[in-house]
């Protein structure tokens, strides 16, 4: 069961933020092309940094608490982290914009 640990943490992040999309209508998942275009460079930069840090033994992952370790010694969950967490960040941002529309940048 511990193997599911990291994945469950990420799943909880998505579940907790889902009401922002469904209830507040943040339209983050709905704008999936823009979302993919945002996630790609973020994943390249932060994933690359992660690969570098792991190769230098700056941090490591407990193999008992992840499902799959991919080449480069990064667990699958760590790559998913760079999908899930940016989504949660964008959802929070769009939620604030929905609640406070007068703070909205007219150009964005």
């Amino acid at each position: 069961m511990a193997h599911w640990g990291y994945l469950l943490v990420l799943a909880a992040c998505l579940i907790i933020t889902l009401p922002l999309e469904l209830g507040l209508r943040t339209r983050v998942y709905a704008r999936w092309q823009r979302l993919l275009l945002t996630l790609t460079p973020v994943m390249i930069m932060f994933g690359g940094w992660d690969l570098y840090a792991v190769s230098r033994h700056q941090w490591s992952y407990d193999r008992a608490r992840v499902l799959v370790v991919l080449p480069g010694r990064l667990p699958l969950e760590e790559w998913l982290f760079f999908v899930v967490i940016p989504i949660c960040i964008i959802l929070s941002f769009e939620a604030v914009r929905r609640v406070r529309p007068n703070w909205r940048d007219p150009e964005a």
Partner: protein, 114 residues
């Protein structure tokens, strides 16, 4: 580079993207800082689980050693850089869509640069 140094590099990259490259100027906008404050609360919870359980372990030689809710203090800057870079790209792409002739939002041709 230690984690301490690389996190400062990441912070600089994110700030350059926001202020120079994409010119989204999120660092000067209230909507960004309020969003970041919300993200920070949840980061402390999630990071606390990841580093306290622990799922991830740090080499003590690569960090300053100061910890905030189990996580190295460097993780706070990591999270800030991640938030700033992600939102800067997201906002820039939205701006581009709003300016596109047939895109969503106002279709504006030959409009003066804002």
């Amino acid at each position: 580079m230690t984690y301490t140094v690389s996190v400062l590099v990441a912070l600089a990259v994110a700030a350059i993207v926001d202020l120079g490259l994409l010119r989204t100027f999120l660092l000067g906008r209230r909507v960004f800082w309020v969003s970041y404050a919300i993200v920070l609360v949840f980061q402390l919870v999630v990071n606390g689980i990841l580093t306290g359980w622990p799922i991830v372990r740090y080499d003590p030689r690569t960090i300053l050693g100061t910890r905030v809710v189990e996580a190295p203090v460097e993780d706070l800057l990591f999270g800030f850089s991640l938030a700033l870079l992600t939102l800067s790209i997201w906002v820039a792409l939205g701006r581009r869509a709003a300016r596109a002739p047939h895109g969503p939002g106002r279709a504006r041709r030959r409009s003066p640069a804002a």
